[in-house]
Amino acid sequence: MDLIVEGIKKAFSLIFTLDAEVLGITLLSLTVSGLATLISMFLGISVGTAVALSRFPGRRIVVSLINTGMGLPPVVVGLFVTIFLWRSGPLGFLEILYTPTAIILAQTVIAAPIVTGITLAAIQHLPANLRLQILALGATRVQTVWLLAKEARLPLLAAVMAGFGGVISEVGASIMVGGNIKGYSRVLTTATVMETGRGNFDIAIALSVILMLLVFLVNAVLTQIQQRERPR
């Protein structure tokens, strides 16, 4: 019990004294997961919309692949991304293993199917004739996709948040492809694991509190937007 209280005290002292290392780790977590989410958003929303709107042979298989991808275990992603990024691997020439870029890549692989799957469901959930109505208003293909995505903006927002929540709290892939390098590729989750290993439970708790605060803030923003968009 003392440990938890001490940990939370430590957390706030680290936050309020703007501890350089903790701040750096927090910013890196936000940056890496934010960028991965952003890339996933562009990939997921465009692919999800495209699959939702088109009919082609093998579409069923693509849809089930996307749905399977939504549940990709981070460690599996971590393992395969690591193998691909090895110097001897097919993407070794990029020389990005054990860099924040590698974490972004792995997290994108985790988050993109989540955003794609939710986008697919959201667009399919729109009225069947809405696409025709938009076309009848004279929209081009690009405008049609844009207007449909705008109509589904709340579930899409939820998709993005789900993706972000998934990757910022993910540890397996980050530690494997990022290497948990001090001041470089150490994010909140990998730092928490390491500090626990070192027996620095107070710092580990502090990092967890920061992580939870971040996730809470993100969800608060989402709720705020939802409440504003759908009054009463």
């Binding site: 009225p127 004739n129 809405l130 025709l132 109505q133 076309l135 009848a136 208003l137 004279g138 929209a139 081009t140 405008q143 207007l147 705008k150 109509e151 903006r153 968009e229 759908r230 009054p231």
Partner: protein
Amino acid sequence: MKPETNPDALLRAERLLVHRGGVTVLDIPALDVFEGQVLVLIGPNGAGKSTLLLTLAGLLKPSRGRLLFRGEEIDAAGSGYRRRIAMVFQEPLLFDATVFENVAAGLKIRGRGRAEIGRTVPEYLERFGIGHLARRSARKLSGGEAQRTSLARAFVTKPEIIFLDEPFSSLDPPTREGLTGDLERILRETQTTAIASTHDQTEALRLADRIAVMNGGRIAQIGPVAEVMNRPVDGFVASFVGVETVLPGRVTRVSDGVFTAAVEGGEIEAVGRVRTGEGVLCCIRPEHVTLSTNIPPPGSSARNVFSGRILKIVAIGLFHRIHVDCGFNLVAYVTRQSLESLSLEEGGDVIASFKATAVHVIHRGGPLPAPPC
């Protein structure tokens, strides 16, 4: 009624075929839509009305055939043709935005400036009686308000042709009544060419210059309203349109709620809120027409009495349908018993009568009666 004089169709379909799942759902050898006219498609569910509308609007690629707009073949892939038309569906299909933003959508898509949007949109909001709703969220509209928004969104782009797919069929009757009147007025004011589908006969009669009756993906009959209603080409059309006698006319005299309308080949007295000079459709259901051989018919207070000649007698179940030429064509039903006791036969003379209250009056063109408020 606008006469069918325009020799060049605004929109022409040639050998249109639509297959779905190996089944032909639409087969239209030829169809012309004339500028400034309203063509109404009627027919049972699954007759192909919606498919035809979507195909003509360039939203559904036909399996075969081609569409000519002002004599040029339509390129359905680009947005060019779609920017010259508009379409209103049964559901309002509004965006999750304000009424104003919804009505502005088509203009924004066309890249029109803020100034033009600010000028045009309010004008159309007023036209459809939703000016006071401009700032309201489209999610908080009644069914009628939502469909008015959808109509305004379609008309504001000043389409050269507008497609309406059962636009009012999910509304309650009073709302539908009001909207049909407004739509008719705006179509006339703007001289917009339109193709509408509907289930509702009154709606069809109010809006249509021409009617096309569809069945099984084909057009069973197409022509001016009175022609289709009065002279169905076959049993299907007859059963579907209900074989009312429909007489286009103009009000010549109004007194005490009873008015006289001049129709082709005669005058009819009827009851309704009309003004002198107004165009009307007088509809008389066959069961309301009494046939006799005496003048005046015994025990009748009917104000409309015509002598005529029997053109045709068709047996339909327990009834016989009698087509009478009394200056205009009138259809009556009689029982087998009456047929025999009156000894009616084709070519024979007969007295036809119906009450003024039996005439179903549909307003058409000309000034509208004062709104019932």
